[in-house]
Symmetry: C2
Subunit: 608 residues, 2 copies
């Protein structure tokens, strides 16, 4: 059995550092993506008057150094050692290196960045916080999930908590001294939350008593924070069946004393930590609540809306794991393919020794990873900036339009980016060949860690349903048409045939045409025969991602040329590549969309 | 973080057996695929006069039971316990359960099936042996690699060994009492074998002395067989540089005594066993040869040709791991999705409780797994049967044509099938949702095991190069044109518009048209600007796979209807689904092929 070799000596050692080369934060690429996505317009809003660009750039650079130098070295340790449930005292423990990195994250105040100043936040655009999350996730995806969950809890309390709850919990959650969780899933109640059986009964002045078992709770227990603030979906005794009967409760691991400090242990414990394909450093817990003290958050039976607040906040944070893991995989694959001589390539009539990267197929794989990373990063930041505009835009019309664009693009940003992230990790394995299959090189961890992205925070199938059945048809399809109009107008026509991007623009125009016609097809089917629309939802989401991604890379190239940044030559090349290699397939996607559901009108065959 | 839940109780136990449901051998599907691929025509050849169909069916059924009942239960044990290098005596050990299963495999004589009777073989068609390999690989992919390597050694000795070598080694290799290896790869010499540095010097009457270090040697050492027969590529002192200077040597782990029994230990040892992403039960060894006794196999400096004999034999065996792992993943995903109630689906104006499989997206994923498995299985068996015809066909013209078709399709069967196998394993993870990410369910092992397929035995990028630069242009493109002609003629025209497959035939015809036009484009570019052809090689290989796969599924539907087999209704449905869901994208593939290499004319950007 032959495979591409790595350098390995007879004693079994690899000369490269185990786990792959160090991570370098791509601050310039991130900044450019923010600029292309409309950072300047957002910074001009009154709400961000206190944020100047140079502060923002410094924050990105400083966090980039922190991610590279402090967080990234903990990544492989977390994969190898993992998080464990110690029997006595029953507590989940994490590697010592996590403690150091997390403490520096808390002390640096990085978690507070996008939140209101009245709770100790920095009130930065959420897109900037998302950029930080990308770097954190590149450096250590498992550890980065802890602040993502905390952020979800913060969003829920900001939107639904009363003043007293906000006062008691938020300042500590913002810094990360306390962390947060989302306790939704139960056995038989995953994507289908209506089946939740956890109960909460009112206990007079003592608040509520929550009982039940939750599973797949990310960072449900651990030893990094002084307290853990669980947000728990449960059913009150008088509640109607299904999702309409769910209420949200805050259940602290340690009950706050009258002075607001963590006091007595609450009746909540972790009984099991999953052995997972990846994310070994992130404890995925089964949590048992046994008459645990809790407080109602928001209106009784208003749990689903509160839950959506948490999940919407988290979808972009999960989406950004796509470019995050792809960036890290690219850095390693790039180093390997440029540093290694293998075989020969044609050179005129003869041949010459070649680096791995000189083989067209390897180059193609690297460029797919590279451009997919840039495109999905741009989509994520653009979506986040629409969200910032939706909250803080100057005019109600601006806010409404931005909200609608953010709503449309959020499921695409989550699903398309995490699919690309996994695909890029797999390409990274392929570039390394046989070495990519060896755990010691670190590349398998990329693949294993990336595989959860398309599953959690609503599977990518559910994201496609959300796009098509909830977002697309809103106001008769108005918002996707408006987005298409904007996408048709913004690369400045007419374009000269000598423009290096003229071929890319042609492919883009065709892709945009495919998206426009399938959008109308979808809208017609949503009324007439919804199953046809639903059957094509996944391919439609992909077509939106590909077309918007190409649009953003073309805008990036135009922006780079106009502003004369150093990367302008390669921005042009990357847009050209992405159009030719990815957007050229748009017609195939369109054809699979309009096939409809007829071919699904069959029973799934039994297995043997 | 929410995710589709699995049933798990507070104590952390899953009610399903750990590692997923038992494997059931799909003997009827396999037999149908063999029939569609042309088994009857091959069995009619004089060389197979001794093989009657009922014997063959019994063999498939009996091996299917053995695979399901004896081999499959060892799969998860191998994943968890793995193979280990014990320091004293320096030997690789495998789980006890492997010993039992392997001994029964040897005692059953299964390994001898396709080989000549004069060495104790059964002289069955190789396609039948491939069908057995599929079931073995479904049951335990890691263990199944052992016989695959042995088969490579047998092929090399059959073709290149002298009578004495054949006499001494082959009878034992055929049964599997001795196993074989392929020692090719070295550090810095993986896909590029010209860089091999292992040496062999002649030692007079004592034969040759082989010295060097090989790595990534599959089943390079283990405790299952009485002897291990290494086939080693090495360089003699007088050898020219590059691949032209390589010779092949047989180096037994234990040197044969004068009576032919394994005697003294040879100077070859395993110094390292890799920690891999998957295939934990298959030891991947670094092997050190230190003046080890060896015998020249075939002509001096003829090593590359001999190596290709081994690799060609192995390519279909590796390819069949694609449907093998996809079949097993399908069985588990099917059981999960049909056994589990989750959420609701639309039902007229209202909705009703649904099984997971009732959600269109889940159904689509299952059917993609299912039909991809059937299509790639059909392609593999068809390619193997062309190989049998090439060897034993009645007329030289038949043999030549079959040889050319087998040569064309072998890289497609290897690459397309292993890509589909990995994609199916990933879909299996997705169908299970959060549970798919939990090792205990067994699904992550499918994904981890499947990831090596696209890498070993020549990466899938190398297969695409082989197809385009070595096979396609042969005789001016004659053979692909003949294959296209055959593919255009064999679904019997004219087809009635009331034919349930009329839509599938339309899509197929369009796919065939795309393949015909891109074939001509490729042939023109191979002369004029080879880089354009090479840049599109991967997409071209995929288009060949998709189109041939659709052709075979349509033939399968027609065959099933004509012969009235039980599965005929679902053969029609599966062909319809595959055409609509997969072949409908052919035009997109065609467009990415004819983009050429212009967009690759750039330096790969540095990482951050």
């Amino acid at each position: 059995m032959t495979a591409t070799a790595t350098h390995r000596h007879a004693d079994g050692h690899l000369p490269d550092p185990a786990g792959g080369p160090a991570y370098r934060a791509p601050v310039q690429d991130i900044l450019l993506a923010l600029d292309v996505a409309g950072l300047e317009r957002v910074l001009a809003l009154a709400a961000y008057a206190h944020v100047d660009r140079s502060t923002l750039v410094s924050a990105l650079e400083e966090f980039g150094r922190f991610a590279a130098e402090v967080i990234a070295p903990t990544d492989r340790i977390g994969d190898l050692d993992g998080a464990h449930l110690d029997p006595e005292p029953r507590r989940v423990t994490t590697p010592a290196e996590f403690h150091t990195a997390y403490r520096m994250y808390v002390d640096g105040g990085w978690g507070t960045l996008p939140f209101p100043t009245r709770f100790g936040g920095g009130a930065f655009p959420s897109a900037v916080a998302l950029a930080l999350q990308e770097m954190f996730a590149s450096a250590n995806l498992a550890l980065s999930l802890n602040p993502v969950l905390t952020q979800g809890a913060i969003e829920a309390l900001l939107r639904w908590g009363d003043a007293d709850q906000q006062e008691r919990y938020l300042p500590h959650l913002l810094t990360g001294r306390w962390s947060g969780t989302m306790n939704l899933t139960e056995a038989d109640a995953g994507s289908d939350l209506g089946a939740i059986r956890t109960t909460a009964r009112h206990d007079g002045a003592l608040g509520w008593r929550v009982s039940g078992t939750k599973q797949f709770i990310t960072w449900g227990d651990h030893d990094l924070a002084e307290n853990i603030v669980h947000l728990v979906l449960a059913r009150t005794p008088d509640a109607p069946a299904g999702t309409k009967g769910l209420s949200l409760f805050v259940v602290p691991r340690r009950i706050l004393s009258s002075s607001g400090l963590p006091g007595a242990e609450n009746a909540v414990r972790c009984t099991h930590v999953e052995e997972k394909l990846g994310l070994h450093g992130s404890p995925t817990c089964t949590m048992v609540f046994d008459e645990a003290y809790g407080e109602l958050v928001g209106p009784r039976h208003g749990g689903m809306r509160a839950m959506f607040t948490m999940m919407n906040a988290a979808r972009l944070s999960i989406g950004v794991q796509g470019p995050a893991v792809a960036e890290r995989a690219y850095q390693q694959a790039h180093a390997y393919a440029t540093g290694r001589v293998q075989g020969r390539v044609r050179d005129g009539e003869g041949s010459r020794p070649a680096r791995l990267v000189d083989h067209l197929d390897v180059k193609r794989m690297l460029l797919l990873m590279r451009t997919g990373t840039q495109a999905s990063r741009a989509l994520l930041f653009a979506t986040a900036l629409f969200g910032d505009l939706a909250t803080h835009g100057d005019h109600p019309d601006d806010r409404e339009r931005a909200r609608q664009f953010a709503d449309l693009l959020t499921p695409v940003a989550k699903a398309w980016s995490t699919d690309l992230g996994f695909a890029s990790a797999s390409l990274g394995v392929q570039v390394l060949g046989g070495a990519g299959y060896i755990e010691e090189t670190g590349m398998p961890q990329r693949l294993r860690d990336a595989r959860i992205g398309p599953i959690y925070e609503g599977t990518n199938g559910i994201q496609a349903l959300d796009l098509v059945t909830r977002k697309l048809g809103r106001d008769g399809g108005r918002w996707m048409r408006e987005l298409l109009h904007e996408m048709g107008g913004s690369p400045p026509p007419p374009r000269s045939p000598t423009d290096p991007l003229s071929a890319a623009y042609r492919i883009y125009d065709r892709s945009l045409g495919c998206l426009a016609s399938t959008t109308e097809w979808m809208l017609a089917k949503l009324d007439a025969s919804p199953d046809d629309a639903i059957a094509g939802a996944g391919a439609y989401l992909e077509l939106v991602g590909v077309t918007v991604g190409t649009w953003l890379l073309l805008r990036r190239a135009a922006f780079a040329v106009d502003s004369g940044v150093d990367q302008r030559a390669r921005c042009i090349e990357e847009a050209e590549f992405f159009a030719a290699e990815v957007a050229a397939g748009a017609q195939g996607l369109a054809q699979t969309i309009v096939v409809g559901a007829g071919h699904l009108d069959m029973a799934v065959p039994p297995s043997a």
